[in-house]
Symmetry: C2
Subunit: 480 residues, 2 copies
């Protein structure tokens, strides 16, 4: 593609994307494709000759668009709702063209230093102390895996060199609540602790980790000769967005000498609000914390931020003298004795694309005040929806609503259904509502059984969308 | 930013990027920024009020552009040279706007199925058998980590549940050549094997792993009670792009029952050429292979492909029953008994952006023939540069040139310098050439000492650029 064609197709694509953003509600939120539809509509082999971009875009529209579930749709109310905001989209376009690869400072001074600066901005906004240094990964799963790697490095002598097998080590233990995310399971499996190393601590009536149960579990493990190494506390759990008592958990970790990692991937940004600053109370005493701008900060996927108060431990876990090809003599701002920071030293990945560009452009384009207003509005909308649920005789709320997610279910006032029937009815109700294409909600399982889950996080979601969700829920109960 | 502004700024950005691509040679390839320059030029805090996009772009140009090392510049001849091609850039723009998150089939049928289709295309192009299923990760480091995780899963009973510590296991061993990439070191550290589990096997005179030495090391480890689990063979090593004897290594692995992973991150795509198809001889007997379209296939970072012949093993390493929120009843194309593929089951990461879109658009926009021609041309250019080095009395080539990378050094014909002086002179020469801003080369260390390294991989690199590199090298020797 010549540059003249790039200009033409680029301008066409700007119009396509702008139309998409303006009219995304024309599409059903949840794709109606059947498994295999898309693959069956595409050739089995790559073309031998190049094709015009217009033909590729035509196939994109014909074959792929029907297979999109529209995460960038204001009726997307499932999982954690997210937004690819216009400044974030433009930043990704620019980032792709620049093709920065920030493995070493010298291979992208701009990306390396903008990462530090923009993560400093975000750190201040959410109220973490300056002792926390940030690094950008792709996903919270990878951020949390690195936090666990740092915990392992801090707790197990010579683990970087000697590993975990073939030596006389006790079984290791990591703790999180029953409500914590499966990324922690994947993390302990990946780094060789084994799935059984993860002890899930019971929660209280509001789905928060019980520090007394945590203390008991640690004591029990120590008595059995196991080695506790880390606790993961969650600020905004996946099902109900409950907030573990971080300060109290931090006290336990300090006393026991355990690494404390805070999973604030979704809710951490809410600490920008004076009304919600308390959610990170005690997080300043944690060793690490993950927050994802691609969740509730209007950044296109992917960008996850790990803040770490002991980044030296993380670095020492990967302190290789790399092959000669990656060695440089660049001195830091402090002169010859001061070495530059090379981002490749903070994790598994050597290659790193220019993700800080979108964070920087979003923070500047929105400004902190506007971001706070939008987060407040999402929280207000969730409260409104919760109040509707509370007021409706045939629906009931199943958990507190600290942020922008509401867990609830249909439970008709005029009859008593056995639990299994109630679960099946709610799953059926969810399918019926999602099939309309107007909104997309997801489900979870709580104490009472299957719960429906409405999550607000798209910047264009308004009261109209959540009213539509309620109306559809009420309407579709007639088909149960 | 309203959509009307998105249109305006989007069109401006198309022009900015097109101008950048057309005139990138106006910039010095290697950034001239000093450490700390960029950070010092940016405010310490995020703005409270939103700012116009024009002001942000102005700061981007003023502060960040001088801090870019231009990977998308035809004079970029360092490390592995890469290209963000126009169709790849447009695909990333579109992908950012769609904001697909393909954790489950239903959360993006298009992304899930296009990944399978486009990886099928690439698999055929490089001649891997259909038994290899592909999955996209961000980087080769993560692909290789997953390959090692699969090897660990296959070799160590109950490792997913029980981990490596606190049980009676022998020390584990992984093998790669002395020339293999540091991602393997990071991989064995991350997954808990320990750095000492990695045995680096000596190479022959052309920097290829010696199968006899591999056999000896395995035997020695078995005799000492250690458990060999995997071998990583490299097709296109980082320093010299040497090719390990994969078929012979595959024979060793089959006999010994070891997982064979092939690191073809850079050079794998060259197997598309009839002249180079042999580089993957034996790779069909491997268990897994990594190839990076963001290296030598004109895709913007990041996209790395892991092909695996035993994807069931990888899946079983992460076979969690996830939290209820991620459970779906979607049946696969085979009907109710056939479950859909959910990409979250193939690795640590839950979130996955729509990376296959750029691979698909690149393969279609270029077409296979044009890609082959470009790869051939890069290889031809490397041969031309190598011939110039060979013909010059004051330069010498230090390794064979199987692909698009040339290792060489200055070694004047009219005097004999001690090795340390020769190394220092070559490092100085590299700095002098890179300071011109016309080209950017990197270095490595080979048997003879410091080697300069010229890598061709940008689609706009022509004979003019490598001639300029040679001229600068010759010219700057006068300053030594």
């Amino acid at each position: 593609m010549e540059t003249v064609d790039f200009r033409r197709h680029g301008h066409e694509l700007v119009e396509w994307i702008a139309d998409y953003l303006e009219h995304v509600e024309r599409y059903p939120v949840l794709s109606r494709a059947k498994p295999g539809d898309i693959a069956a509509a595409l050739p089995a082999s790559a073309p031998e000759e190049g094709e015009p971009f217009g033909a590729i875009m035509a196939d994109f529209e014909r074959v792929l668009v029907p297979g999109l579930t529209h995460w960038n749709h204001p009726g997307f109310l499932a999982y954690f709702a997210i937004t690819a905001s216009p400044p974030g989209i433009l930043a990704e376009f620019l980032s792709a063209a620049l093709n920065q690869q920030a493995m070493l400072w010298r291979t992208s001074p701009a990306s390396t230093e903008l990462e530090a600066v923009s993560l400093g901005w975000l750190r201040q906004l959410i109220g973490l102390p300056p002792a926390f240094e940030g690094v950008i990964y792709d996903t919270a799963s990878i951020s949390t895996m690195h936090a666990l790697l740092a915990a392992r490095e801090a707790a197990v002598d010579q683990v970087r060199v000697c590993g975990l097998a073939g030596r006389d080590l006790p079984a290791l233990r990591v703790y999180c609540s029953e409500q914590a995310h499966s990324s922690i399971d994947k993390g302990v499996i990946a780094i060789g602790l084994g799935h059984q190393s993860l002890r899930r601590i019971p929660v209280d009536s509001a789905y928060r980790m019980r520090p007394d149960a945590l203390r008991d579990s640690i004591a029990e493990d120590r008595a059995a000769g196991r080695l506790p190494i880390a606790v993961v506390a969650t600020v905004g759990t996946t099902s109900t967005t409950s907030v573990d008592p971080v300060a109290e958990v931090a006290g336990v970790c300090e006393k026991e000498g355990l690494w404390l990692h805070v999973d604030a991937a979704y809710a951490g940004v809410a600490a920008m609000l004076p009304s919600h600053a308390h959610i990170l109370d005690g997080a300043g005493r944690a060793d690490s914390l993950v927050v994802n701008p691609h969740k509730w900060l209007f950044a296109p996927v992917d960008i996850s931020v790990l803040y770490c108060r002991r980044m030296d431990v993380l670095r020492s876990a990967f302190s290789l003298t790399p092959e000669h090809i990656l060695q440089t003599a660049d001195a830091g701002p402090g002169g010859p004795g001061d070495s530059v920071k090379n981002l490749m030293d903070t994790g598994v990945q050597l290659g790193r694309r220019f993700r800080s560009l979108k964070l920087w452009m979003i923070l500047r384009s929105f400004g902190a005040r506007s971001i706070r207003e939008r987060l407040s509005e999402h929280i207000r909308l969730a409260q409104v929806f919760a109040s509707w649920v509370d007021a409706h005789p045939d629906f009931e709320r199943l958990a507190p609503v600290p942020f922008s997610v509401v867990c609830f279910r249909w439970n008709p006032a005029d009859r008593t259904l056995p639990p299994a029937d109630l679960d099946a009815a709610n799953e059926r109700l969810l399918d019926l509502v999602n099939q309309t294409g107007d909104v997309f909600l997801s489900h979870t399982k709580l104490r009472e059984g299957v719960a429906l889950r409405l999550a607000i996080g798209h910047m264009d979601t308004t009261e109209r969308h959540i009213k539509r969700a309620l109306d559809l829920l009420v309407e579709k109960t007639r088909e149960l």
